[in-house]
Amino acid sequence: CVDSLDDYNIDEKKASSVPAVTLFSSAQKEFTDAIVTPNVNENNFRLYMQQWTTTTYLDEPRYNMTARLIPLNLWSSIYKDVLSDLNEAKKIISEDAILTPAVKTNQLAQVEIMEVMAWSVLVNTFGNVPYSEALDADNSLPKYDDAKTIYDDLLTRLSGALSNIDASAGGFGDGDLFYSGNVAQWKKLGNSLMLKLALVIADSDEAKAKSLVAAAAPNVFTSNADNAAFPYISSPPNYNPVSANLNSLFTSRQDFIPTSVLIDYMNELSDPRRAEFFTTVNGEYKGGEYGFTNTYSAFSHISDKIIDPTLEGIVMDYAEVEFMLAEAVERGFITGDAAMHYEKGVTASITYWGGSAEDASAYLAQPGVAYETAGANYKEKIGMQIWLAYFNRGWDSWLTWRRLDYPQIKAPVVTGLDLKLPVRLIYPHNEPNLNGDNYAVAAQAMGGDLATNKLWWDKF
């Protein structure tokens, strides 16, 4: 009879318990996918930063966030595919009675760093988000927390994780897809992340930013070998999502081309990265008009290197760290030579993409690139070069642009439309349906759920 058939309701084809490391691996993969993908349904930041534009369909370069489920897809990726697995990994690790304590501490610290990274994307994209009551299946209506409060907590958590990491003990082994279990690298990644997160609040909470930057700066990335990157492989579904959307192996679509805004600037500077980023058309690098239809065959395309399915997915790299150190010097947060950091940043970017050190120094020798002469102020100098270095990293480019306000991109001018550059994503379209009261409070606290409302740290 039924009472003796307990196993009937068990899913015999799925695991009921798994090792924590596998959830950590999953979170690394899902986080990288969310940040790297150019899919118009989830990640349009390369468009918002006018690095890429579209050929036929103009909703996304014209900042329409409701024709597709863009905010929902990013939000869900981070909450459901990244944070929830990390949260579960943390539970399993904490309950593991056999694990060596030092390894346990390291694993928890690495989970914490991943979590902070993921939360920072959410909070720096949407502003107020569910945080203290999130990730609890028993609470379907989590309240939204104030973005600044969350952010302060993230900084505290990151400091804590960094002080717990012990590079002499083990971590996640091969299941750590960024560093194959090298815990010392996590220390560098954590500090580099701290540098980045602290600079975000440089305009709003200078003192705090300064002390955090100063503490982190000595332990950040020192070469491209330190980059945190996900090792995509050649076959779906673990291939680089850029290839899924652009490579003719996987799609017949021809949606994206680089913009004239970017290519004209790089042409002006004879940028050696052009050959790595773009194809040529009639021997020239030619970008499409941002926000209007473009004939695919008439313009440069994204290079074979970038649409290669095995191209690694960068989460954080050395070049950006050097640019941020330059900024930190300029802001007086640390002592040092801003120009030197800037040059290292430019060089790191060029050499990462396949250029030589000579290419880099020739490039840097031009007045338009040389730190002394490249711009009116450090925001322009660093802002323009980091925009180029962030060519395939739309979200990070968008974050940095909101801080530095360079490049001074303009929304396309279309008769009958009043387009404005987005400085946040609106909340997912279904939040008012699923979590209406809390959504309403959050939207009101942010001055309305608008893509034009600046986040709390975005002072300029």
Partner: protein
């Protein structure tokens, strides 16, 4: 002085009647006839014997001096005495029923010979909402008395001869949610229509309680034909019908502007430089059509303008390298649809000997769909037999086998395999579909109109979005098979004159196989995928059936039994990864990249039930009935896996009252009942498991699933209250049945959608209260009835009001909305507190406070509400109904059925995209000023939407409509509120028409071999009298999918198919 009287009881046609009750009037003495129809009873001269038997009129015979008394009973056709098959195959007289049930006869089921049993029920039963899909062999939704479950199954249970059968829909969940997929239909469509004796629709919980949980959505009870003792009968049906699309349910195209998005003019009125590409494809530099633009917002047609068109790239085309005039297509996509053919041959042999009966049936059905390269073949076999081993012991068995093979089933939803995606949404009006056909058949290449590059040579070029639709049909086809075995063995043993025992073991096994392909040179990478599923279910029922009369006026009957149900479903779905190595070799081993782990399921369910029923009748005047059932299911947590549910009902047959016995009232019955039905959880909703995506090389990873399970689930419950009044007048010339019901479904087990901030997309909860209440009216009248001519009309009407009373959570945490399906264009189907089930949400119009008119923005487009979550439609119909007429003149019979659905809203993704891309006539032509709508507003063009400006004054601003990106007055590109594309789904259809001529008996007799020959002309879906959706069939929707066939959404809708043909029925 008692003496022995013997005799034989027969029916009018001479066949013997075993089991006839014989009582000596005024005593409790009696007997029944044996299997030979013989009886012996002790009675005195002058007393009377009463012969009674279900389905026959009772007869009272006075005993004279004779010792042998043979009796012939007249079959009883009156409403009152009509035998109805109820739960577990029990036969009851209509006047004993304490609930509403509606019967459909075999003739009604097969008169228009649609092939699909489910579709044949449409319009014939009050309260039954059938929604058929227009795809070949596609799934049909069967909803009785509205949607009860918010996210679960709402489909009625199909029961054949007392045994539930699978009506599984094995389409992918994407297909079921209205996204891309192939519609392979649902299993009840395999039921052989020629094998059906009658269909009884049990609507309320009181009628279905004995079936347990699965009957909560009502039951379609099918009784199959059985052999009769001492008879032999052969019926042969042969028929063919042809099907063509109803063009009133298909797109019409504007014929003035061709390929492009950017329009022909610029905002200043200058010619748009991008209206054509420029290049030399063979005959010198010239204009090249914008091949890669899947829209018709381009250059104005001009026959004098020579342009390189898609065939200029095709080296096999006569137009290769040549320019051709820039004109609208001669042959639109309606020509893509072919004439379907459905041929049906069936033979049924029934018969019986002294103590045995048998039936053998075979049906062969071949269908060629209206899409190219589509066909469906069915072999349906059935055999049943019974044998009376002794006077008390009877054994019977029944086996049905069906084999369905499909080729080229229709793709549905938003995908290239659905040709309507291009035809209705993304197309160029300059593309001639017959030229596409010729291009494909020249060498079977993907000669698309939608080249990725305007300049690349044929060999390097390919489709950017849309295939040549012929290539898609002939190369990217699916095939499938379904083998279904259903049968039972049964033993009846008469323990005593008043009680018999039945033991029945039933088996239903299905094997499904589906293969899908994407060939080389398609828009998507080539792929092969397959799905295999095997399902079986066994039901063991043991029950005692008793009936006893006492105190001469009381009749007690009932049953007591147990049911053990076991089911097992094993399935595996796998597909190639990253393309195929050898082109067009469709096997998993030919995958370019390692195959991802297949999706496997191994689902077992066990339910044990015990049940009982007791009915007490008084003089045929009143009845009360109680049922109770307790189930124990493995799908619930062990601690709460048992649930009990009762029902109680009573009736009062007031026409049996002496003072009402008169000529005009034939039947009058009032019934009332209250019932509860419990239900278990879906399999696998209690314990948590992890997903395992494909490993990254050698590194495996796991992830939490999208749905959080719940180990505290308890059973759900439906409570149902029903009143019904049945009346018949003037010897059944006129009848009126009225039913009111109210049901509430509580503690529903739902995977509710939650904010993903919880870490999950869905979670299982016990929640929700859904109320359905409504009325059903079934009426019939025979206004004329003469020797030669008769006319009978049946009318059904039902109206269901459905309301989501509550969802889940309490106080601050009360959840007020659950998204049932999230659809393209940011439209969703929802269960919202206080609203009808399935309401459509999206951006709405903004109405001016003063005037109540729609506000038009300063650019001439309707203003959309700030919130994307306003209710913009209710997919539930206001009412549904059917009117059927049967006219008979001598040997000629005409019947027709009009099927009506009033209300029920739909969002059309087809219009949303297709108007945005400038396909439909509304998007071009002249505006109210007589100027071209595609001219600049400054030049008098544009489109004036009726409404008011923000200040309440009538709108005078025409919207620009010269390109398909931003300056469009229509569809997605205008950013109009979604509410503008919500349509009323009402229709009035001529569903069935049959004209039958029975060859005169004199002629038939001359042919010797035949008992009768009937020739019919038949038609289905011949005409739509009324609908509000201009370019589609409002009935075509989401099939029987997860969204419960709630409808409310069309994407790539298929046109309705008219079918007409003939059938000849021979009886030997």
């Amino acid at each position: 002085q008692d003496r022995s009287v013997t005799g034989k009881v027969t029916a009018e046609d001479g066949s013997i009647l075993p089991g006839v009750n014989i009582t000596v009037k005024g005593t409790t003495r009696g007997t029944t006839t044996n299997v030979q129809g013989e009886y012996t009873v002790m009675a005195s001269q002058g007393s009377a014997l009463i012969f009674s038997f279900i389905g026959f009129e009772s007869k009272e015979v006075k005993i004279g001096s004779e010792s042998v008394l043979n009796v012939s009973l007249k079959s009883d056709v009156s409403q009152l005495q009509e035998v109805v098959v109820t739960a577990l195959g029990q036969e009851k007289k209509r006047n004993e029923l304490v609930y509403a049930a509606q019967q459909v006869t075999a003739e009604q089921m097969t008169q228009a010979r649609g092939g699909n049993v489910m579709n044949a029920l449409s319009g014939k039963v009050a309260g039954l909402d059938i929604k058929a899909s227009n795809t070949m062999g596609g799934s049909t939704s069967t909803i009785i008395r509205g949607y009860k479950s918010i996210t679960g199954n709402n489909q009625a249970l199909y029961v054949i001869d007392g045994v539930p059968i699978s009506n599984a829909n094995n389409n992918t969940s994407d297909q079921q949610r209205g996204r891309a997929g192939t519609d392979y239909g649902n299993a009840a469509s395999d039921i052989n229509p020629d094998n059906i004796a009658s269909v009884n629709v049990l609507k309320g919980a009181a009628a279905t309680a004995l079936y347990g949980s699965r009957a909560a959505n009502g039951v379609i009870m099918i009784t199959t034909k059985q052999g009769r003792k001492n008879s032999f009968d052969v019926t042969v049906n042969t028929g063919v019908t042809w099907g063509t699309i109803n063009k009133n349910t298909f797109v019409k195209y504007q014929d003035q502007y061709g390929a492009g998005y950017d329009g022909a003019i610029t905002s200043t009125g200058a010619a748009q430089p991008k209206a054509f590409y420029t290049g030399d494809l063979g005959s010198g530099t010239g204009d090249i059509a914008l091949f890669d633009a899947d829209a018709s917002f381009g250059a104005k047609f001009d026959p004098s303008r020579m342009v390189y068109q898609w065939d200029a790239i095709d080296p096999f085309s006569p137009n290769f390298g040549k320019m051709t005039p820039w004109t609208a297509a001669q042959n639109g996509p309606d020509k893509f649809y072919e004439t379907g053919v459905n041929s049906n041959q069936s033979v049924t042999i029934t018969g019986g000997a002294e103590n045995s009966t048998f039936k053998l049936g075979y049906t062969r059905n071949d269908e060629k769909g209206v899409l190219p390269n589509s066909k469906l073949g069915k072999n349906l076999l059935s055999f049943s037999a019974s044998y009376d081993l002794t006077k008390k012991l009877k054994v019977s068995a029944n086996v049905n086998y069906s084999q369905i093979t499909g080729l080229g089933r229709y793709g549905t939803g938003y995908q290239g395999k659905n040709p309507n995606q291009q035809f209705r949404q993304w197309f160029q009006t300059n593309v001639d579909i017959l030229e596409q056909k010729e291009a494909y058949f020249r060498n079977e290449q993907n000669v698309t109109w939608n080249w990725a590059s305007p300049t690349d040579a044929f060999a390097d070029n390919g489709p950017i979005y849309s295939e040549n639709p012929y290539y898609s049909r002939y190369k990217n086809y699916s095939n499938d098979s379904r083998d279904n075995v259903f049968g039972y063995t049964q033993l009846n043993y008469k323990l005593a004159s008043w009680v018999d025992f039945t033991g029945r073991f039933a088996y239903n096994g299905t094997n499904d196989m589906q293969e899908e392909r994407i060939a080389a040179n398609s828009a998507d990478p080539s792929e092969y995928s397959r799905y295999n599923r095997s399902f079986n279910e066994t039901n063991l029922d043991l029950y005692l059936n008793f009936h006893k009369s006492f105190a001469s006026n009381f009749n007690l009957s009932g049953l007591l039994g147990t049911n053990m149900r076991r089911s097992k479903e094993v399935s595996i779905r796998a597909s190639t990864n990253g393309g195929l190595v050898v082109p067009n070799l469709f096997s998993l081993s030919n995958s370019a990249s390692p195959v991802e782990p297949p999706t496997e399921f191994y689902k077992r369910i066990a339910v044990d039930g015990i049940y009982g029923q007791a009915s007490l009748g008084y003089k045929g005047l009143a009845n009360v009935e109680f049922t109770a059932r307790q189930d124990k299911s493995t799908t619930l947590p062990t601690s709460s896996n048992t649930y009990f549910y009762p029902s109680i009902g009573g009736n009062f047959v007031f026409s049996e009252l002496a003072q009402l016995r008169n000529n005009w009232l034939t039947l009058g019955k009032f019934s009332i009942n209250y019932a509860e039905v419990g239900n278990d959880a879906p399999w696998g909703s209690v314990y948590d498991v992890y997903d395992k995506p494909t490993a990254i090389g050698s590194i495996p990873y796991f992830s939490l699933p999208n749905t959080k399970n719940n180990s505290n689930l308890k059973s759900e419950r439906t409570k149902n209250l029903e009143f019904s009044l049945e009346t018949a007048f003037l010897e059944d010339r006129l009848g009126l049945n009225f039913t009111y019901y109210k049901s509430r479904t509580l503690d529903q087990i739902l995977p509710v959608s939650v904010s993903t901030a919880t870490g999950y997309g869905f979670k299982y909860v016990n929640s929700g209260e859904v109320e359905n209440k409504g009325i059903e009216i079934a009426a019939y009248v025979t206004p004329i009835k003469t020797e030669d001519f008769s006319w009978t009309m049946n009318v059904n009407f039902s109206r269901n009001r459905n309301k989501v009373i509550s969802l889940y959570g309490e106080g601050e945490n009360r959840v007020k909305n659950v998204v049932i399906a999230s659809l393209q264009a940011s439209v969703s189907l929802n269960a919202a507190e206080g609203e009808p089930f399935g309401v459509l949400k999206g951006t709405n119009f903004v109405y001016h406070e003063g005037t109540g008119e729609k506000i038009v923005k300063s650019n001439g487009i309707y203003q959309a509400s700030a919130s994307a979550n306003e209710i913009i439609g209710n997919p539930n119909p206001d009412w549904i109904g059917g009117i059927s007429n049967n006219l008979k003149y001598k040997n000629l019979a005409l019947s027709f059925l009009i099927d009506i659905r009033q209300g029920g809203d739909l969002f059309s993704l087809d219009q949303w995209y297709g108007e945005g891309t400038g396909l439909y006539p509304e998007t071009a032509g002249l505006n109210e000023l007589g100027n071209d709508k595609r001219s600049l507003v400054a030049d008098g063009g544009g489109v004036l939407w009726p409404g008011v400006q923000a200040d309440g004054t009538p709108n005078t601003v025409r919207a620009e409509n010269y390109d398909g990106n931003t300056h469009s007055a229509f569809g997605y590109s205008s950013g109009a509120p979604r509410a503008l594309y919500v349509y009323d789904g009402s229709y009035v259809k001529l569903r069935e028409l049959a004209l039958t001529y029975a060859l005169p008996q004199a002629v038939v007799n001359k042919l010797q071999a035949f008992k009768s020959i009937d020739v019919s002309l038949i038609g289905r879906n011949l005409f739509i009298f009324h609908k509000n959706m201009k370019y589609s069939d409002p009935e075509d929707g989401l099939g029987s999918g997860l969204s419960n066939g709630a409808g409310g959404y069309q994407s790539g809708a298929y046109p309705a198919v008219r079918s007409y043909g003939f059938n000849v029925k021979f009886r030997f």
